[in-house]
Symmetry: C2
Subunit: 266 residues, 2 copies
């Protein structure tokens, strides 16, 4: 199994504090050692860094931490391979252009039987179930809406398409087009919305940060992750079948889902 | 105007020597200061680094040189903006998935009137003529061949599609899917095929390298670039309308083209 990290904000924010705690799980504090990837949106563009070495010891992850890139939307992933070889093309996050935008996707879990749809426009490059599922999502969105619809229509369409895929396994994912972020939970996904008054956060490796020193009173920063990264914040655990649509660091739409125990195949 | 750099080899090769000379033109030895980008194929995957700072002084370009990534196919670009703002989404090379492969494209020159084709599947994310042209190419290839055809058919199709675009301006480009590389010239594109017996090369900034120390006798490395990077090698200048299809460091197919003076609108 893998771990996910997402950030959605109303002001360009440096994810280093969260990313450093997160990537330690790739080989140091946990066993997700089959590569990592991170995508930073910058305007309509996106910077993606991937490595098939463990996040904790990858020199590329080290450089990224040093760059302190600020972004409104970030998706990161550390991988414990369950399907597909350990190589660059199988490393999350995956990207496709949809409606003239970069769409970025990362998945935790395994979904069975999402075969390659040969007549679909978007084809997987690697061999993971995750990329095959992502190609289904963007293919179906494009087919339903040849031109980009409203955000609410996109949210509803993503729910419709992904609920079918989620019937075939564990489908925790984060998806973004650089304007908003959609999170979907089967088993484990937590989020925290940081806003004023900002306080101190204590990471699980006991590194602390005082957000009030780095923020304006109007800032809103949401962090989404498989397991909470800090010990003293109010992380909300998403339920099975739950969806959240984040924009500008806030929850815009939500489907609560059921308790994780409620679905037999989880 | 921008500058292009491509490398196509039969063994994974470190492009640092060429890239270091090339990126000096982004702000040091020349005036291409509006960003740079480089894509390294690794298996079916591709690593892309882009920066909207000058190639010569970008810390990202510096890290890339230090990484000494080895690859069979590399495309790099330094930008002097003629169309489109200086930002990340307008920075070459551009990438799209076609037939389950990463297709990478970089362009030097300006092509007028390549409007956005709204019914085409591939849509530009930024505002450059280059990305609009690339979206036309991949859209038409996909329409002509829903499934991937032979390499010769791909070459012929690329020639057919791009000859039409080239009627509208200066269209020097390099295109690769990680298996082969196609170069097309209107005004300036040169290449050199390095193979045994390997000798010393002297870069235009007087840095030299002895390739015989880094190569095997079977190695073949072709470097394609806007202007020759070394003073003492046999760079072949491509002609207007010329196309070369490189594979494993060798020329596989070629259309010679005419002298650059022969076409009125160049």
């Amino acid at each position: 199994m893998c771990q996910l990290l997402g950030m959605n904000c109303n002001t360009p924010t440096d994810i280093t504090f969260s990313f450093d705690g997160f990537r330690r799980r790739g080989g140091l504090t946990d066993h997700h050692t089959d590569g990592f990837g991170i995508a930073f949106f910058e305007g309509k563009g996106v910077r993606v860094f991937r490595d098939n070495r463990p996040g904790a010891s990858s020199p590329m992850a080290e450089s990224i931490s040093q760059y302190q890139i600020k972004s409104l939307n970030v998706i990161a992933h550390i991988r414990k391979a369950t399907r597909g070889d350990v190589n660059l093309e199988n490393t999350h996050p995956f990207i496709r252009e949809l409606w003239g935008e970069n769409w970025v996707f990362a998945h935790n879990g395994t979904v069975e039987g999402v075969g390659v749809c040969e007549e679909c426009h978007y084809q997987p490059i690697g061999t993971t179930d995750s990329e095959a599922a992502f190609c289904r999502i963007v293919s179906e969105l494009k087919e339903m809406y040849p031109a980009k619809p409203s955000e609410k229509e996109i949210f509803d369409a993503v729910v419709k398409v992904t609920e079918r895929i989620a019937e075939h396994g564990v489908f925790n994912f984060i998806l973004s087009n650089g304007h908003f972020m959609i999170a979907r939970c089967t088993t484990n996904l937590h989020y925290v919305c940081r806003k004023a008054p900002f306080g101190k956060a204590l990471r699980d490796d006991d590194v602390s940060i005082d957000f009030s020193q780095y923020t304006q009173i109007t800032d809103k920063v949401t962090v989404i992750t498989t397991q909470p990264l800090t010990k003293n914040e109010n992380w909300i655990k998403m339920k099975n079948g739950g969806y959240v649509f984040f924009k500008d660091g806030d929850v815009l739409y939500e489907i609560e889902g059921m308790l994780p125990e409620a679905k037999p195949h989880v």
